[in-house]
Point group: C2
Amino acid sequence: MSKQTTQEQTELLRARDEFVTQWGAIGSAWGINRTMAQIHALLITTPRPLSTDEIMEDLKISRGNAHGNLRDLVGWGLVRSVVRKGERKEYFEAEKEVWKMFCTIARERKRREIEPAMHVLKDCAERTAGLRSDEAKAFNKQIKALQDFLALADTVLTKIARAEKSTVMPWALKFVK
Amino acid sequence: MSKQTTQEQTELLRARDEFVTQWGAIGSAWGINRTMAQIHALLITTPRPLSTDEIMEDLKISRGNAHGNLRDLVGWGLVRSVVRKGERKEYFEAEKEVWKMFCTIARERKRREIEPAMHVLKDCAERTAGLRSDEAKAFNKQIKALQDFLALADTVLTKIARAEKSTVMPWALKFVK
DNA sequence: ATGTAGTTTCAGGAAATACTGAAAATACAA
DNA sequence: TTGTATTTTCAGTATTTCCTGAAACTACAT
């Protein structure tokens, strides 16, 4: 292996490391735990599936941590486990196509967070629907405004996430201009 | 004050409380601290500006906590402080129009989180642009795909957040059907 | 049955984050 | 000035969240 190649490999490893680290930090700003974001970052930038042990070693994390976060990623639908025939060990690979990733994340966050939020709003709106004081009316109106907005956002997101990339992209590009 | 009125007031307070509590929980799933989300929820559903002391009492939090989170909300542009003439105390009121709220949040998250993310990607792409191994090429390609997607999303969001509600809503409604 | 490779669980500990409360600073009035 | 109301800061503490590591479990091979 030439010196040149070794240097290049090092540079690639460094870049991937930087990406993994930073992606973890970014994830936590969006309420996603650091390790989960890091594992995801690692998997989407590694061409072959990785085993739990490889991930543990690369990120210097414990088995329990790697295991749990991998299961969560599988639960989100962002990662799938693959088994090589003749081997017992489980390997993991991420969906790499960015558009699909986006759709999956949108769908899941919708299910996990937007829908519960809508329930809260619905409940608050119903509980105050009959009240007659000015303050109660204002409250009810404000809650309904939030409800309407969320419902619309939800619908738009759903449509986008269900559509094919090929139908949304041209529209998005047109929109941008 | 009639018994009827008192009951209604209690019901309103309960509903607001429920909203404030749940909104705090929802906020933390999106990486926003619970108290900040609660103060925001309180302010957007209260018709008049509130003082730090009123907020402290309502949410049962310390002065330091209330103060810091109020400053953060002002920093986000979601809340502004108002001074009643002849009074020293500072009062706070939230932007209540949901569309404006959305635009503000979109603008700020873009500035605080999407832009840093784009820098990371740009850096990783540049560092690996010249490498020739297949793995490096694949890495570079994947990073660029993320970059393109984020850039597009960023632009679309910016456009939407800059546009008037009156221009976006009809489009959104049309899109939904 | 027994051994082995691999996975899962979870009690306890560590780290990150958020909060309190009191003291210091500030701003204004008399 | 001096006093008073209000805001700001921040060291220490509490809480939440996350992680470790080892033991229990599972599945399969011999």
